[in-house]
Each structure stands twice: as structure tokens, then as C-alpha cells.
Amino acid sequence: MQADNTVEKVDHSLTLEEDLKLHIRGWKTQKIGAVLILILMILAALGLFGEGLLSARKIVKEGVSVEYEYFLRYQKEMDIAFRLSDQGDIRVAVPLQYLDRFKVARIVPEPNESVISGDYVIYTFRAEKKGKKLCRFYLQAQKPGSVKGSWKVNQQHFEMSHFIYP
């Protein structure tokens, strides 16, 4: 190995245990560690741990778009935004497994009605006229791990999945 040759060997009279091999291994590990830290920083900036390109998801289906984050963090609040064009009343069905993993912090605007129906909680938002609409669900992750579910917005299915970091 090159590093072994370049590092000076010392014949000393001191009572100390100098493990040069361990030092050489340590320096190599430090280099690898430094590279890993840089990679981690870049990935984190890109959203590997939430809030970034790698985490942002968008599903568009017949006049409804859903924006959400894939990577979440434990107890961190996130929002799922539904944008609807040219629609009247909105019915959003949230799968029950989401309520097992998340606490619903707030819903904007407040729904007019919420009903449990089968494996879903259905929130109804009444609208006076047809037009563009936006509603946001603010959820706080309560358990780490992955969660997957199918939300329904006016009977259209939106498959969503998340990974919650501890």
C-alpha cells in the first residue's frame, strides 16, 4: 500500500505504544467519512430527509392535483394539498391507516362534515359555485416507518406513500 510507504517509520526511545497501522487505517476511514458526510449533506439538501426535489411528489388526474412529500420526519408537520379546477363540492376520503400514523393537525378550509365510512374518513367541503378550489391537510407524523394508502378525491383514487424517519 502506498500510504504505508510514505508515512515515516520512527525508532524511538519513548514508552508509548504507537500503532502506525491503526493510524493509517484511521486516516483512510476519516477520508471515507468526510466523503460520506459531503454526500449526505448534498442528499439532505436535495430532500432525502424531506423538503426538497427528492421528496416532492405531484399527482395530476382529471382536474385534480395532489402535492405531498414522500420523505417525512417524526413529529414534523407536513401538508397534503389538493388543487381542483372546475369542481363543486369536494369529498376527500382519507384511509384509516393514515390516521394511525398521523395526527390531523388542521384542515384548511375546515370541512363541513366528517364521516367514518368503511376504511375511510370522508371529509366534505361544500362549495357555492364550481371553480378552482384548494384544500390542505396538515398532518403530523406520529410513528416512524413507511405508510401507503389510497386517498379518494371526488371518487378519484390517488395512491400516496411516505417514509417517516425516526
Binding site: V10, H12, L22, H23, Q75
Partner: protein, 150 residues
Amino acid sequence: MNPIIRGIAIYLFLLVLFRVLGKRSLAETTTFDFVLLLIIGEATQQALLGDDFSMTNSLMLITALIGVDMVFGTLKGRFQKLDKLLEGTPLILIDHGKPLKERMRKAGVEEDDIMEAARLNHGLEQLDQVKYAVLERNGSISIIPFNSSS
């Protein structure tokens, strides 16, 4: 998450991180390093406590941190290899007044650092008055001048 597991995870993460940074990192602390340490402490505190500010939670965490440290201390005392791996071993940087450039470069130590230690501890003026300079396990530099043994 259980506070004990949280405490152990944070302890191990910091242990690996500071080992990767190298031992000179804390020995050469500047004012900014202290500020950085305070920020790290603040960030760690949030992750450790979460939203549970009860006394029981903090007592459990303190117990976990001291406990892991105690376990590592005992293991290091029993297994020399683990002790070397976690704490490292001393490294000679100056041999009979001659700087060991490659060792110094790899350990991130400058000649100025060695001369500073030589001036502070022994009032030495020149590098050739230094018989040995050793980077110790705790990150400090110890100086053995020529006249100390002869």
C-alpha cells in the same frame, strides 16, 4: 421513540462523527468551534427530548447517556483493541528535531501548532530543541525537549 433508544442512537452517532473528524478537531478549538458546539448541543437537545419535557424523560436520558459511556469505558478497559479503535494511539510528529511531514499532514498538524506547544509548555525557541513531539490520544501535543533526558 423510547428515550433510552434515542439517547443511545445520539451517543453512537456523535461518537462515530467525532471519530471521523479526527482527534485534532477538538484539541484546536477556536471561538467559532465553541459556537458550533453550542449549536450542536441545542440541535441534539431537541432530538433527545422531543416534546416530552418531563423530569422523568430527562432523568432517563441522562441515565442512558451515562450508562452507554460507562459500558464503553468498561469495554475499553477490558478490550485493548476497542480502546485503540475508539481512542486511537499517540503519534510521534517530531523525531530528534526533524518534523515528520507526512505524519503531520495526515494528522492535520502544522509546525506552528507544535512550536506553540513547545513555547507554552517548555519555553522553547527553535524546532531543533524538540527531541520528540507527540500527538496524544486526547488531541493535545506533548513536547519532550532535548535537555529533559540528557
